[in-house]
Symmetry: C2
Subunit: 365 residues, 2 copies
Amino acid sequence: MAAVNQVYIAIIGAGGVGKCFLSQLQALAARRPSPKLSLCYISTSRKALYNVDYSPVSLDGVTESLAASTQAPPPLAQVIDYLASAPAKVVLVDNTSSQDVADAYPLALSRGLSIVTPNKKAFSGSYKLWQDIFTASATSGAKVYHESSVGAGLPVISTLKDLVDTGDKVTKIEGVFSGTMSFLFNSFAPTEGQGGKWSEEVKKAKALGYTEPDPRDDLNGLDVARKLTILARLAGLPVESPTSFPVQSLIPKELEACASGDEFLDKLPAFDQHMEDTKAAAEKAGKVIRFVGSIDVATQQVKVGLEQFDRSHAIASLKGSDNIISFYTERYGSNPLIIQGAGAGGDVTAMGVTGDLIKVLSQIA
Amino acid sequence: MAAVNQVYIAIIGAGGVGKCFLSQLQALAARRPSPKLSLCYISTSRKALYNVDYSPVSLDGVTESLAASTQAPPPLAQVIDYLASAPAKVVLVDNTSSQDVADAYPLALSRGLSIVTPNKKAFSGSYKLWQDIFTASATSGAKVYHESSVGAGLPVISTLKDLVDTGDKVTKIEGVFSGTMSFLFNSFAPTEGQGGKWSEEVKKAKALGYTEPDPRDDLNGLDVARKLTILARLAGLPVESPTSFPVQSLIPKELEACASGDEFLDKLPAFDQHMEDTKAAAEKAGKVIRFVGSIDVATQQVKVGLEQFDRSHAIASLKGSDNIISFYTERYGSNPLIIQGAGAGGDVTAMGVTGDLIKVLSQIA
């Protein structure tokens, strides 16, 4: 019989967010005597650590033990089998951004495994996957939480769910959903003073670690489109995929085929004039440009791209790489409910995952 | 034996927030088949509706049925006895601002009744009451949630709890915690243009329904002090009471003894110069004054009163009667996590209560 006060934790992924989560999990397990949290599985794409008899993997020095492991991760279906047979409830923590792992959520949930994850892929892929996930969860009673899939640890998903669940009508969601885009436009088109050249701001952002290795993975707008897809679905719109609505890419057509991010950055200066013109047009109207996403629930319009804002607008006066998300609802009227702060970074992303884990534990343990 | 999928709801209070909550509860019960929510008790200070055999009170037209009731509310200890003997789990919803009801929370929780409430009194009264409440909850396993005790339905309490529970270190909390004060200073000392006279702004706020019947109940700062007490305690500071730290009252000493709010308003214009001087001093420094609360966790300093802010500061550029709460933490670094929006009003306050109810149901049903 399962020990009532024990919960097994299984973790896939031990990269940037994964390492921060491990450190938060260790502190959480030390701080909370009940339920007892035991790590029963951890893997990267190449290595795994687990015991067939479910005896716990020590959290002390787990990163090192995992690096030294000679076990390869079994196929996902086999991992799910192993976890579903565990002698206590299991929470699967997916700290990857893998579509393969996301595709396995319906199976995992139907086998009674609860899931917490910052992985956007499961919730912003096909609408069928979304439906399969929440149907499996409703049927088995296993929980699925993904706060960090939008705005990292900021309470974005939970707030939207609360609005919807308590019967408010969300009319519009608008905001800056990418730390990279926030940093780029706060520097390129600041509310006070002059920004640098566009290509130079992109290079600077990359040097500071604010972009993906290939900056085009930020500039194509897909990351923002994925987040919008998630929020739109939570607000009740059956958005088919992150490519089923207008998304403005900031990659010049001519540079889409560049073989590498470095080649892209080398050639980008030749296209600075277009961004300069866009900025100047906004300045003429006393405004600044920002890369935003918006969801108009009534007209079912979702879009991602550049828009102009008054310098005094909250979206214009954002700092650093902060995100801002405004919820316009029937109850809140003309002044939206606003959430603002760091929307990227290992520690704050892991915090959203840990917070979700605590919520799941309060329901299953 | 208790039906596993049934939860009884008991409600004390059917005023402004209470009526909005009833309407949200009715919609929630209609929307969610499980758990089945049955109203087993509702009372105002003069009337009550309940059946000794726990057969449900209909939510349809309950306000009218309650008004027509000839039952008087039994003493609280008796109500708790009745609820603790119910044949299913019970959530007690306290929609009053009564200290007496708050004082009964430890007893209710120890008898297994979960509590959701916007009532600040329980959490901002003596530190002993705070301790008794959370000890009773930890011992019995009954839940207690009070999101709407600070910032109405804004996710303030839940966010602070998540920060603390996931192991972040909150260093400072700062904000505008009163819709009344927000409205008054956004009008009296706007970031652009000139505000009116102080006494006239107070009169206008009262006429618009933004103040208590006697505006001194807002201007004494106690409401903000209560909210700060709650947040400081959640951040780990053992604040003894809302009068154990500096709170600036905006009531001139000479008017404290006025017999009524009307007499106070009549005499207030004679004291306009002091507020005018305070505003002018800030303007000289290029700033505006706002009525804020702040908690410095490291130095354990809590204070409430007027402070100067740059016109571009988020606290200065607040709109209408909005609240803003900034959490400075180790993980979030120099840019705080910010929550902003309406912090008062029946519907949004009730929304916080309904949201809490949903969270409790997910844990007990």
